[in-house]
Amino acid sequence: MKKFLAIILALCMVASLGVFASAEPAKEITLWTYPIGKWVDAETMDALMADFEAATGIKVTVEYLDYTSGDDQVNTALEGNAAPDLIMEGPERLVMKWGVGGYMADLSDLYEIPEAAGVYDSLKKACQYEGTYYEVPLCMVAHNMAINYDVFEAADALQYIDLENRTWTTENFIKAVDAVYAYTGMPVATVYCGGQGGDQGTRALVNNLYNGTYTNPEHTEYTANSPENVKALELLQSWDAITFDPGIVAGDEIQLFRQGMLNISWCWNASQQTNADNGEPGFTNDGSRILMMNFPSEDGKAELCGGIWGFGVFDNGNPDKVEAAKEFIKYFCYDADEVVKAVRASSFFPVRADVQGVFEGTATEDIMNEYSAIFLPNLGDYYNVIPGWAGQRTEWWNMLQRIGAGGDVQAETNAFVEAANALAAG
């Protein structure tokens, strides 16, 4: 009798597993997202995903990544056949790393939808490799820099800035920084080079100072050892007002700027300016005004590094999941109402000219409008799609560390270019 009962119980348990298995929703996908505005905020994401599920019946499980270990998590998942269905990041990863690596699904059909025609051509170009699209962009920004307005004002350094256009020439930038240095007696800024993310700030600084470039126009070779870049790095190396600090990373630099210990941050953008974690947006922790600026250049016209973020789909061998993931992309990138919500959550700007009024009526509307008018037009070449991007970042940090320690600039930039080009060549 006992054996009989045990068998019945075991059969019930097995049967219940079957019931649960069959009760699984027909369409359930996973999304992994890097920290892109509020696309890592659980409350915002829950609302967006609930709306999507209600509209399509597709349930989305979201996992949040960070820039310190996110790549490791994705790479490990790929090697273990446990990759998510969707991922949100930029073309340097989605296209040039995982797309070229053969892990991503072809999204070319999503560019045949009428709404896709509105996506800026330069962004479309960045989202493909050899004619195959691996990413559909959602939002973009031009990374800029920021200064402590009140300190610059007190140091009488605002006279060197075109406040209307937020530009300055390299000559005036040097005068302004020297004035602040004389006023505070402390380093005004630091070239952070501890690694990890935020390298766009240091790249933009070096490239803009004397109108250098980071890669050739074809995005096949690095050009950081050009005379313009060498001159810029020599200026920074020899300048007491600006230090090189391998002990901090970009996040630390932003924190020090917000704390008033540095008076310039190289790693700024709209998302930073609207950040209200430590107080009112646009102010440091002690209440000083933060003024967003273009990077200085010889002629005063900056070329800002772009940031593009969007969705890619991992081809995990399940066509249903790929289709569901494409539904997700269509919903958030092309639906007239939803794209506004999705872009607003990113704290960045739409990638289509026809998407308007994203920040209308929000507390950050003025800041975003100002950003859109002053900084977005200065978006420069999106060279992040050069092969070997992930590896060259480490080489870039190492080069800055060596230069900061007194290394010969020409020799160190040559070493960087040699190593980075080797990575680009595969």
Binding site: E79, N398, A405
Partner: protein, 304 residues
């Protein structure tokens, strides 16, 4: 008919049944061990002979000892190897001596006081690496860190020291943090081992006129030798595998001054996706640890 019995008087059937039951109890652990220890280890050794990279469409190419030859020509690996040995050579003796000294001081205190000290020293062990490093990073901070503040207040330094950003200090800072997170377990083990020392032997030695030092080295030291051997090996392995602190604090910098083999394996395999090369480093590390552990076991056995 007489039953088949072994020397302990159990029937063969009973022995077989007990043996089977024993193996069944072992099975979950065995499966875990084979899946997560033996299999990856074998794969690591095999992959180290291949030029194995990330990419769905890439093929692993057999290159024999190519990765190993490249390793010893790689100045970053040689630097990482040197740093790893520096960490081991500094941290293992310091951890051993300090934890033995602390344990000897606290093991015969009032029970609540002994427990208090154990908790204090064990806290950094059970606190997450991230929390520990955040606090240390704050203390080492170049701009507002407490170390610079104190040293400046005492007039020892005039300019702040960039502790984690200066190659002269960075590795020392890592070792200091490692020490604080490494001494907890040895102290707890030593307190326990010292508490289990046969008191009759101690008393007999004291009656025979042995002083405190002689009692410690002639009686207690011999009895805590197995614990010492265990702590020595565990501390050595932990020091060789120092990774989280470096990843969270310095990423191997500045100027590769805090690169260790473990960090370089992580960087090569996960950042550069060169799995074969990373695994070759892993094999080298495994050989070093195995040889040193073997020597320590041998010395421990001959001592006992």
């Amino acid at each position: 008919m007489p039953m088949n019995k072994n020397r302990s008087g159990m029937s063969r059937a009973l022995v077989r049944r007990e043996t089977t039951a024993g193996y069944l109890f072992l099975l979950p652990s065995l499966v875990f061990f084979l899946t997560f220890v033996v299999y990856p280890m074998v794969m690591c050794i095999i992959t180290s002979f291949f030029d194995s990279n990330m990419g769905k469409n890439t093929q692993d190419v057999f290159i024999g000892f190519g990765n190993y030859i490249e390793l010893f020509q790689d100045p970053i690996f040689r630097g990482a190897l040197k740093n790893t040995f520096v960490i081991v050579l500094v941290s293992v003796p310091v951890v051993m001596i300090f934890s033995l000294w602390v344990a000897n001081c606290i093991y015969d205190m009032k029970p609540w006081l002994t427990s208090l000290f154990r908790v204090v020293f064990y806290l950094p062990v059970v606190t997450g690496s991230v929390a520990v490093t955040v606090v240390w990073k704050w203390m080492f901070n170049n701009y507002y860190g407490i170390f610079n503040y104190i040293l400046k207040a005492l007039g020892i330094i005039s300019k702040p020291i960039n502790w984690l950003g200066d190659p002269k200090y960075a590795l020392g800072c890592i070792i200091l943090i490692l020490l604080t997170t490494s001494v907890g377990q040895p102290i707890v083990l030593y307190v326990s081992a010292l508490g289990n020392v046969d008191q009759s032997l101690v008393e007999a030695a004291e009656v025979d006129g042995a002083n405190h030092r002689q009692v410690f080295w002639k009686i207690k030291w011999a009895q805590i030798m197995p614990t010492t051997l265990y702590i020595l090996i565990i501390t050595m392995i932990n020091s060789f595998q120092c990774f989280a602190l470096i990843q969270l604090l310095t990423s191997g910098g500045p100027l590769h001054s805090t690169d260790t083999i473990m960090y370089y394996i992580y960087y090569t395999a996960l950042k550069m996706s060169r799995y074969g090369y990373g695994n070759a480093m892993g094999v080298i590390l495994m050989i070093i640890i195995a040889v040193l552990s073997g020597i320590q076991f041998k010395l421990g056995q001959s001592d006992s």
